[in-house]
């Protein structure tokens, strides 16, 4: 795997293309900043292949998590041919992460030698050996090394943060050792994980040390949404990326809100997990924030100088990831009962082309399964459109304009 940077603007992010993602699928690439396709055990939530493929330009990388996979290890070992084939995923790059970004892990189960994941049957403890045996039967194209990221709690001590950095480095070294002994993982890419909580020197230490190892890219852990002040996060990320080689990609797990994505792109992040559309779907909401930016440079200047009403983040309780954000509409609201417009005017997705807000409202009120299907399609489409617009804005120096547009209050109301 290698990152071809096409544009780097200090403090404003980087534009590039990630290539060589898969030995068996060499034609696949991921434009950065970009997001991965979020799945539960290889299926985009609620969707089958038919409904999934109503979406155009899906990310070439599918994410699966060990929390989904771990309990099926025996099955995969019997199957022998890897998770991708097991799940019927034909033409995608497979990325395996440790945790599910949409599911909060209980604290207190990490030890010096183990981390825990939670599957449908409960907690499973993983040593590096077990972790690597899971990678062996999964056979992803790319995975992040085992890490101790339990630094998100409010009163995490410095000592605990230091431990997470030490442990994570030790896990990485052990992973790499075992990696090179496994022929199944011969051309599989490994990302190192940068820890350090909210303590700058621990973050720097973790970044420098991880960068010394032969990893292909970096996962910036412990910055998940809801657990850190956005400005603190942005500063820490910027500090960390300073220590990392420019030509290796940076993945930021657990951050998905559009405003946070924008801030983290500016701080130097290349890849995000695509779980946010799923969270929006689960609360019966549809993404509707605008990300259209006028291509005409003159009106762009005028727009920037306009007195805009910029929306402050709507949800006060940052810790609650189930709360609505300012980027969506709540279709359960009575006002949509007889709204016969599409979810978002001008949206080309299957749901907007075929159905109306009133119908979605009805499906949600009556607890019908189709609501999840239609919302997942729309939310994924909208989110991918946002990333496309983000890359275009970076290419044409219009990030400021995009930020304003995304934060506009007006975009949320029905037209």
């Amino acid at each position: 795997m290698h990152l071809e940077l096409t544009r780097v603007v200090q403090g404003s992010g980087r534009l590039g293309v990630l290539r060589g993602l898969s030995r068996t699928r060499p034609h696949h690439s991921l434009e950065t900043p970009g997001c991965l396709l979020y799945t539960h055990l290889g299926s985009v939530p609620h969707l089958t292949q038919d409904t999934l493929h109503t979406l155009k330009d899906l990310p070439s990388v599918t994410q699966v998590t060990l929390s989904d996979i771990a309990e099926h290890q025996e099955v995969l070992e019997s199957f022998k041919e890897g998770f991708r084939k097991f799940a019927g995923l034909h033409d995608t790059v497979l990325y395996c992460s440790l945790h599910d970004p949409a599911a909060l892990c209980p604290a207190g189960y990490t030890t010096n030698k183990t981390v825990s994941v939670w599957g449908s049957g409960g907690r499973m403890e993983l040593t590096v050996t077990k972790f690597m045996s899971l990678q062996k039967c999964t056979q992803p194209d790319w995975y992040t090394s085992m890490a101790d990221g339990e630094t998100w709690q409010v009163n995490t001590t410095r000592k605990r943060v230091r431990k997470s950095v030490d442990r994570t480095l030790a896990h990485l070294d052990e992973c790499l050792l075992l990696h090179h002994k496994l022929p199944e993982l011969e051309e599989v890419s490994v990302f190192g994980v940068v820890e350090g909580g909210d303590i700058v020197d621990e973050r720097l230490r973790s970044a420098r040390e991880t960068a010394k190892r032969p990893v292909v890219g970096f996962c910036l852990d412990g910055f998940q949404t809801g657990f850190m002040e956005p400005s603190v996060r942005a500063q820490l990320i910027a500090a960390v990326t300073e220590e990392l080689p420019e030509d290796k990609p940076r993945l930021l797990p657990g951050v998905g809100r559009p405003d946070e994505v924008l801030a983290c792109v500016e701080a130097g992040v290349d890849v995000f997990e695509g779980f946010f559309p799923f969270q929006v779907t689960e609360r019966g909401c549809a993404l509707c924030f605008r990300f259209d930016v006028t291509p005409d440079p003159e009106s762009a200047v005028l727009e920037l100088n306009k007195e805009e009403e910029v929306v402050r983040n709507g949800n006060v309780n940052r810790d609650d990831q189930t709360q609505m954000t300012p980027f969506e509409i709540n279709l359960k609201d009575k006002r949509y009962e007889d709204d016969f417009g599409p979810l978002v005017k001008g949206c080309g997705c299957y749901s907007c082309q075929n159905h109306q807000r009133a119908y979605l409202h009805h499906l949600l009120v009556t607890n019908e399964l189709l609501a999840g299907v239609l919302l997942m399609i729309h939310n994924t489409s909208h989110y991918l459109g946002f990333f496309k617009a983000l890359r275009a804005a970076l290419a044409s120096d219009q990030l400021e304009l995009l930020k304003r547009r995304v934060m506009e209050a007006g975009g949320r109301e029905s037209d």
């Binding site: 939530p45 609620h46 989904d68 799940a87 449908s120 016969f340 009133a358 009556t366 399964l369 999840g372």
Partner: protein, 417 residues
Amino acid sequence: MAAPMQCGVETQSSESSMSLKKALTAVSPLTLRIVAECPVTKARACELALPHCTVSTPVFMPVGTQGTLKGITVDQLESLGCQICLGNTYHLGMRPGPELIEKANGLHGFMNWKRNLLTDSGGFQMVSLVELSEVTEEGVRFKSPYDGKEILLSPEKSVSIQNSLGSDIMMQLDDVVSSTVSGPRVEEAMHRSIRWLDRCIAANKNPDKQNLFAIIQGGLNAELRRACLEEMTKRDVPGFAIGGLSGGEEKDDFWRMVTLSTDHLPREKPRYLMGVGYAVDLVVCVALGCDMFDCVFPTRTARFGSALVPWGSVQVKHKQYAKDFQPIDPDCQCPTCKRHSRAYLHALFKSDTAAMHHITIHNISYQLSLMRSVRQSIVEGRFPQFIQTFMRRMFLSRDQYPSWAVDALASVNITLE
């Protein structure tokens, strides 16, 4: 009203009969053309021309209770070859209500389904879902489970809601009595259903676009059934349903009432057997002369991980399938079987609702394929052989064949080998 088209099925009509068909449907919103009749049994293969498209019968109609087929998009349903599906008047009448659906251009517009819809009257749900419902000559009085308001569902109200829904086939409001009940209540209900049929016919605002079907009642009493048949067939309705069966009654009584009913129903009108959907029941009742069927079973059982196959069912959630890397049915051409294994679906059930959707798609495909095969065998004059093969595949041995099915088939000249 648009001229009816074949829904994705090759039509064998010549040009002149096409224009004749068009002329006929300009007058009536339903035309039944009998394509083939089995010389041995009472089975028929027909083409049922309805306002939105033509339906090939015998047909299984999936049930989309609340204006959606649980988890499946209309595109997926269309791709599976579904030509007609059901919506429930009771549910939709409560939420979102007829006024809103009218604003949305009827149920077709609301759910964006371009083919045919059949709505039932709400009668069955009244009795089965609602506590403390009271039946009088006026209608069924009950308390709304959503806001506690007192509601009266009369024949006029039921038809009015169905007019707003705009379904291609509407059902009369019948006085529904459980098939396990006997005695004077059954007779009362049968006579009342006839009176309610007349009120429904009178109340139908759109007889040129919406077909009102009568529902034959009479419980498990042959006398009452015959009386009901005699009276209801005097009314000029476009089709007849056989109701009051497929509850908890004995199968031995069930099939006798079905065959009695088809004996006395007009040949040139469709026969709709309500609530029947198990594969064996479908095949037997086609042999007894029924054309249309509906049932929640295939879609409901899918959500519990039960996949229907020619030899019974595959309980995908059971441990034994955890390492079974075959598809549900290696011969099935549905999207689920073409891509996924039992093992994957077994695992997916622990992670995501998509697992249910995969099985739902498979089960609908199974039901529709079954009916297509049945129909093809009737058209090709080999339905009796089809039945033999079907039964051999479904049951481990001859002594496993349900005796009611053996008897029912014997009554139409099929001796199971």
